[in-house]
Amino acid sequence: MRRRRQPLVLTVDAISCDGHGVCAELLPEWIRLDDWGYPILKAGAVPPELLDRARWAVSNCPELALSLRPAPLGVVAAARTERT
């Protein structure tokens, strides 16, 4: 039985984040770094084709600051992404 895919968003715990930048490396289509090395995430639900890499980025954050969670109501899945 197929479970309906639930939209997921990537969020960063700003307090735990220490600007390692591993996430931006592993998921450049969704995450870029600001001038001080801290991640800027795109808004909206992560498109399905990026989900696996998003999970990989989450598990490789040295501070476990990145997380993937169900989108709050009203967040729609983003259309095909472009390079930032």
Binding site: D13, I15, W36, G37
Partner: protein
Amino acid sequence: MSRLVLPAPVTVRMEGTRTGQPPADGTPASESEPAVSVEPGPGRLFADLPVAGEWRSLARHRATYRMPPPASSRPNGRLIELVGRAGLQGRGGAGFPTARKLAAVAGGSDRRVVIANATEGEPASGKDRLLVTRLPHLVLDGALLAAHAVGAGEIVVCVDRTSGEAARALRRALAERREQEPPSCDVRIALTPPRYVAGEETALVHWLNGGPAKPTLTPPRPFERGVDRRPTLVQNVETLAHLSQIATFGHDWFRQAGTAEEPGTALFTVSGVARPIVLEAEMGARGGDVLAAAAAPAGERLQAIVVGGYFGTWMSAKDLEGTPLSRSALAPFGASPGAGILVTLPESACGLLETARILRWYAGESAGQCGPCTFGLPALAKTTSSLAAGRAHSEDVGRLHRWAGEIEGRGACRHPDGAVRLLRSALSVFASDVEAHLRGRPCEGSRRPALQVPASSEEWR
């Protein structure tokens, strides 16, 4: 630099304010009580305000205000409803509907806590300290009423530990109470470190729980899990003072001042070119009227005003003149009354220089927990300083705008957002100055700083 020192407060006369009414129904009147009437006079919170150095004793206070009902672990829905009908909104800056907040905490599990927030981290604000120093019983009654409303057994009054006078006044007031009117629940005073963000809800809770006075991630918000993981109500002391009045004089009375969406009066602190002063005015009073009441020295015209404190927005004097001080009227300018703070800037001063100084202060007050705030705010401050000194180029202004967009919303609390908002409003209101400065011509007045911007301490405990 010392913080704001206030001379005698002034009340702005309001039109159409009627005398006190008998208590409205909905107040928890278990016994029938004689109707209470109030002498008509200037002000409501400031009615019969003691002069500087004096304070209203418990006996004197009780002559007007009925004793709050005892707090128990059961919330009082009728009192919350009364507050809702009065339409009271928080006076700590966010303007959140008080009844909603009370209901949220009342809905939580047992053992609730009330925090009366008198920390007043905004350097340009003086109203909370004033209330606590001269009308401590109005504040304490409000706290007890709030505790009764939400069903709390503990009240903590938080005061900045550098304001000795306020702490002393509170201790005195509590001693009076213990003698004459033992409180129905635990009331204690907590002296907070002198940091700006310490007054933020989650920071206060964090500190009371033994940590540094730095904001924490939400969820959970304090109303769900706060002090000792208990549902916690954090309320500004001015809001609690209004609550006392509503409980005694009723919701109809409260609504006779202010606007329909933002009823009642509020305390405004005006400083800058005007001598620092706290006024009481109706919500929706015209900016020009409030400034006039603050009596800015003649001959020194106003250039602009920071509306809502350093956490607020610049507005030109012209714009503020005819604009009512209410959320709805100020919203089109990207501004809000905040905690009722107006910092005036004279014609002779340089708005960009003052903004740079405030940004430097913002940077110094960062909790240092989140990268975009810790590193972004000093960068904003530095570049704005160069701009103010006439040493910047147009790419720097572009960079300011880019950084503003990138920093916003990426901290664990709203501190960096305040800096961004202030900066953006400065670049807009002082746009002609920006032009001039880019061409290497800083303002003449830029040699002397105009606003009082304090130095930051290093303590977090």
